[in-house]
């Protein structure tokens, strides 16, 4: 697993090296604060690209949640879109049938994502490795088929639309420029990033990391492996549900593609691109991937496949961790 310790340059003062080897001591609020500052700056500098910004924030939140499952808990999944789409549909249906308040919808999305992850995780986590991977695909496809079938609730292939989202906190109505949507998504991303950081650095998070690194030894130490993994899976599901709810509320439509295999695979690509297991890597990957997608796909969707195909092969042949390390040494040597 790529923790920050493996990335430090070799020339370090002994005290600093010991500091790096100890469990993470950085305050949990620092990285989310940086994200908040960068996000707000980007929104202020590019006011005509707020829609793209919102997409990036939502993708970042989704990949963040995937990082909890893949990078931290070490459970390779190709079905994470199931929780995202469930959160999106739950928030959309709630806005349509119950009330239009966005924060209540967000809570419903979080709850739906967490519940689905809890229920499916209780079944999935009994299996490991390739079987687990394929079962996550199966769960996502089953949810997709059910959403397709339940036309009365989800709109089937036409997508769920026609719901309105009320003003945020009763004051800030969602405007056409997407300013409120962008800042709303950014706020939720920053908050969830903080929560995820705290979760990963907590004793619970360390236990999950331990299970990732050596399941048998953690079991021998008395850690309830299954329960820890299930709790992490449900927490990640809740965050993915939040991302889904955000996507439903800011786009005012939920399509079947929010449950698709392609979305799960894309999120995994974003995660690996940025580096798994560090949370910040998830955000970097989401930003780079969404920006590339935006520029390449606007030219020709098939050209986009060329770009992403090359990118994937390059990432494997020249791993990002190595490239970052090389860059760091270069920059360090220059300064």
């Amino acid at each position: 697993m790529n923790t920050s310790t493996t990335l430090q340059g070799p020339a370090k003062a002994p005290s600093e090296a010991r500091h790096a080897a100890a469990p993470r001591c950085r305050p949990a609020w620092r990285a989310p604060l940086v994200v908040l500052a960068l996000g707000a700056l980007a929104c202020a500098l590019l006011p005509e690209q707020l829609g793209l910004m919102t997409r990036i924030f939502i993708a970042a939140l989704f990949v963040l949640s995937l990082d909890l499952v893949v990078g931290v808990a070490g459970l390779a999944t190709l079905g994470h879109a199931a929780v995202f789409g469930t959160g999106a549909y739950a928030a959309g249906i709630f806005a349509l049938k119950v009330m239009p308040d966005p924060l209540a919808g967000l809570a419903i999305g979080i709850g739906a994502g967490g519940l689905l992850a809890l229920a499916s995780g209780a079944f999935l986590l009994r299996y490991q490795g390739f079987t687990f991977l394929m079962l996550t695909v199966a769960v996502a496809q089953i949810v997709l088929s059910l959403a397709q079938k339940a036309r009365d609730w989800t709109g089937g292939d036409d997508g769920l639309s026609g719901f309105t989202v009320g003003p945020l906190l009763g004051h800030f109505a969602f405007d056409l420029e997407g300013r409120v949507a962008a800042f709303y998504a950014l706020a939720v991303l920053v908050l969830m990033h903080y929560v995820a950081r705290r979760l990963v650095d907590s004793p619970f998070g360390l236990a999950v990391r331990g299970i990732h690194e050596n399941r048998a030894r953690m079991a021998a130490l008395g850690t309830p492996v299954y329960r820890r993994l299930l709790a992490m899976y449900a927490a990640a599901g809740a965050i993915a549900g939040a991302a889904g709810a955000l996507s439903a509320q800011t786009n005012a439509i939920v399509g079947l593609d929010s449950l698709s295999f392609a979305l799960s695979a894309e999120a995994l690509v974003m995660l690996i691109l940025g580096g798994a297991g560090r949370l910040s890597g998830a955000l970097v990957g989401a930003v780079v991937f969404t920006l590339l997608h935006h520029t390449a796909a606007s030219i020709n969707p098939y050209h986009w496949l060329f770009v992403v195909g090359f990118m994937l092969m390059a990432v494997v042949l020249v791993s990002p961790a190595k490239a970052w390390g090389w860059l760091r040494r270069r920059v360090g040597a220059a300064s």
């Binding site: 690509v269 496949l305 195909g309």
Partner: protein
Amino acid sequence: MTVLFNIAVDGLAYGMVLFVIAVGLSLTLGLMRFVNLSHCAFAMVGGYCAAFLVRQAQWNFWLAVPAAIIATAALGAVLEMLVLRHLYRRKELDQVLFTIGLSFFLIAATNALAGPQVQLIPLPPGLAGSVDLGFRTLPAQRLLVIGAGLAVAAGAAWIVARTRFGVWLRAAVDHSGTASSLGIPIRVVQCASFAAGAALAGFGGILGAELMPLEPYYALKYLVLVLVVVAVGGMGSIAGSLAAAVVLGVIETASKYLASDWGSLFFFLAMAALLAWRPDGLLKR
């Protein structure tokens, strides 16, 4: 009754196509421990080559099919020699990402070369007609598919279990260092098995062109189906793959005939149930 019979025949044919494509992946995954998600792209390449040779170059069907299979095998061998062999010792995730990237690249290349429309492989007159079995008439193409699937199953099982090459392959997988010091040409064995897997995929792509239409997104569209067959059958198990492919093929065909508005729900429910029951493969306890 007719419906049931049609389901059985179509399901069996569909299962055989799935099996022929999946068996190569099952062998590379189970024996060589290499996760090759570009396997369906090889099937697509095989199908496109056959379509091109028959339609554009006006070759005879019976000549074009072996040529297309050989072309796919050659592509597999070249890729294996150039890049893929460096990935054998890498983590699974690296293999997954690289081969998915390769699939994306092949999809984009296919679209650039042949366009986004569906490609058809025209059948020779002997196959386009139907065969009278005495009690029923069946499309000759379906019979060919079922026969070819059984032949591939028998041939692959025989090669892996009985021949010198199969012994070499299993030895190279179990302990490549020892196998190498005993004089087994490991590189040749690995390259040949990978090329054989690619060739089988290409053959499956040609066989299944009627059931699984050839288009650029073929490589991703059917990847999940093939992976499901491999997972349910158990990695590296030829008989398991065959059983899984037939069971799942019949279930998918039956749900298309009887409950088409449910999509692939029953297919994936069956997969989840089978995997939960036998996580290591249908025929392994």
